[in-house]
């Protein structure tokens, strides 16, 4: 509930800023214009990753920079971090047997991606389609009692997304919000599960100049 309140405050502050900006125009982005985004990411494990942890992760963020080549096309880079952790009770099959107990499972994913986005509108409200591709460092550990195993390696990441930005001029810059829905595919192995995948809601602030 506190998280929801904080997000609402963020949007309220931005809305207030927009209301005070009497001189904003809905001009297109200029070539070479930079947009910086700071996003909070809420990620839900899907597919085989869901067998490892199935709860929603609120612990994630990304920082991204986008440079406009044309008014409707940008390229950029992104650094992202997502953390997943869950404690479960249950049984796991092992060769010729079974293990039963409280199991703690954890995973961190730090991604570095090249981004491309296509904007469907040149006005202040910019729906977009995008994709990212790059590398991700994945670290996972599992523990029952004091028995501990871990995996850590560098892997592939690809992430198509759809979203919308709302930008308003503010002085000599632009401010806005970013909302996106992202599917992330990685080749990260966690425990015995391969190819960790998530669907994420992305909520962020955008600063352009």
């Amino acid at each position: 509930m506190k998280s929801t309140t904080r997000i609402a405050v963020a949007f309220a502050l931005l809305s207030t800023g927009a209301a005070r900006a009497q001189d904003w125009t809905s001009g297109p982005q200029r070539p070479n214009e930079m947009l910086w985004g700071f996003n909070w990411e809420i990620a839900q494990p899907v597919s085989s990753f869901r067998s490892y942890v199935d709860n929603l992760s609120l612990r994630g963020f990304s920082v991204e920079g986008r440079t406009f080549l044309r008014e409707n096309l940008s390229l950029g880079t992104s650094f992202s971090w997502n953390r997943f952790a869950q404690t479960r009770s249950g049984s796991t099959e092992i060769p010729n047997g079974m293990v039963t107990g409280r199991v703690f499972r954890y995973a961190d994913m730090l991604g570095l991606r090249a981004l491309a986005h296509y904007y469907l509108n040149s006005g202040p409200v910019k729906p977009y389609l995008g994709a990212g591709i790059g590398g991700v460092w994945g670290y996972a550990d599992q523990q029952v009692a004091d028995i501990f195993t871990s995996q850590a390696h560098f892997a592939f990441i690809a992430s198509p997304e759809i979203g919308v930005m709302y930008l308003v001029p503010r002085g000599g810059a632009e401010l806005g919000v970013n909302v996106a829905l992202r599917y992330t595919y990685t080749t990260v192995t966690v425990g015995t599960q391969k190819d960790s995948q998530t669907i994420s809601a992305v909520l962020g602030l955008v600063f352009g100049r």
Binding site: A10, F38, W40, S91, I94, G97, G101, F104
Partner: protein, 204 residues
């Protein structure tokens, strides 16, 4: 602008919590069962339970082995075996399956290669190790195949159960104690869980 920065910082701080393994996991009970492939469980009729517990006590500077009374656990084992269709015979008489109990007590130094954490920023040192000391107390049940054992040879094992953490490191000071501080309820629950995880142990 400051307000927006504050909101941004709040969102990021929300994301950046450290993690730790819950104590109910670290100090929890783990029940492990394994059977010998190819075992025809229906070919066995009778079983017996050795009421003594063979203890390997490493809680002190010197490893000590001894035998303590485990008769309080025998009814739990018997009720599970009887429910699976096997016939109990007194220990010492000829039986197809002999069930024995062992206790492993002590503490061990552990290490975790590649330790990560927060302070004051997130860091990982793949080449470093985190070390710590854990106490362990494990009850081990084994089923020996006395029906097909070779005289003078090793007793073939049909089934093994390790109940990790049930003895909480101290079987009342191992070989020197009286056993009064043992959590029998915890141990019995683990034994029941072991049989629950082994539905193949059944005589039709």
């Amino acid at each position: 602008m400051n307000a927006r920065c504050a909101v941004l910082a709040t969102l990021l701080a929300l994301s950046c919590n450290s993690y730790s393994v819950p104590s109910d996991v670290v100090n929890g009970v783990v029940v492990i069962t394994q059977f010998t492939p190819g075992t025809t469980w229906g070919s066995y009729l009778t079983y017996s339970v050795d009421p003594s517990v063979a203890v390997v006590d490493e809680t002190g500077a010197v490893t000590v082995s001894c035998s303590v009374d485990g008769s309080q656990l025998v009814p739990t084992i018997e009720s599970n075996m009887n429910a699976r269709g096997y016939e109990n015979v007194p220990f010492g008489e000829a039986a197809d399956i002999e069930i024995k109990m062992d206790a492993l007590l002590g503490s061990v130094n552990t290490y975790v290669p590649g330790y990560c954490g927060w302070y004051p920023y997130y860091y990982c040192y793949p080449g470093w190790t985190y070390t710590g000391s854990y106490s362990f107390g494990t009850l081990v049940l084994t089923m020996g195949d006395t029906k097909n054992a070779t005289p003078g040879g090793k007793l073939p094992l049909l089934w093994t159960n390790a109940d990790y953490g049930v003895l909480a490191a101290y079987f009342d000071s191992g070989c020197t104690g009286s056993g009064t501080s043992v959590n029998w309820v915890k141990i019995r629950a683990a034994i029941d869980q072991a049989f629950s995880d082994s539905p193949y142990i059944v005589r039709p």
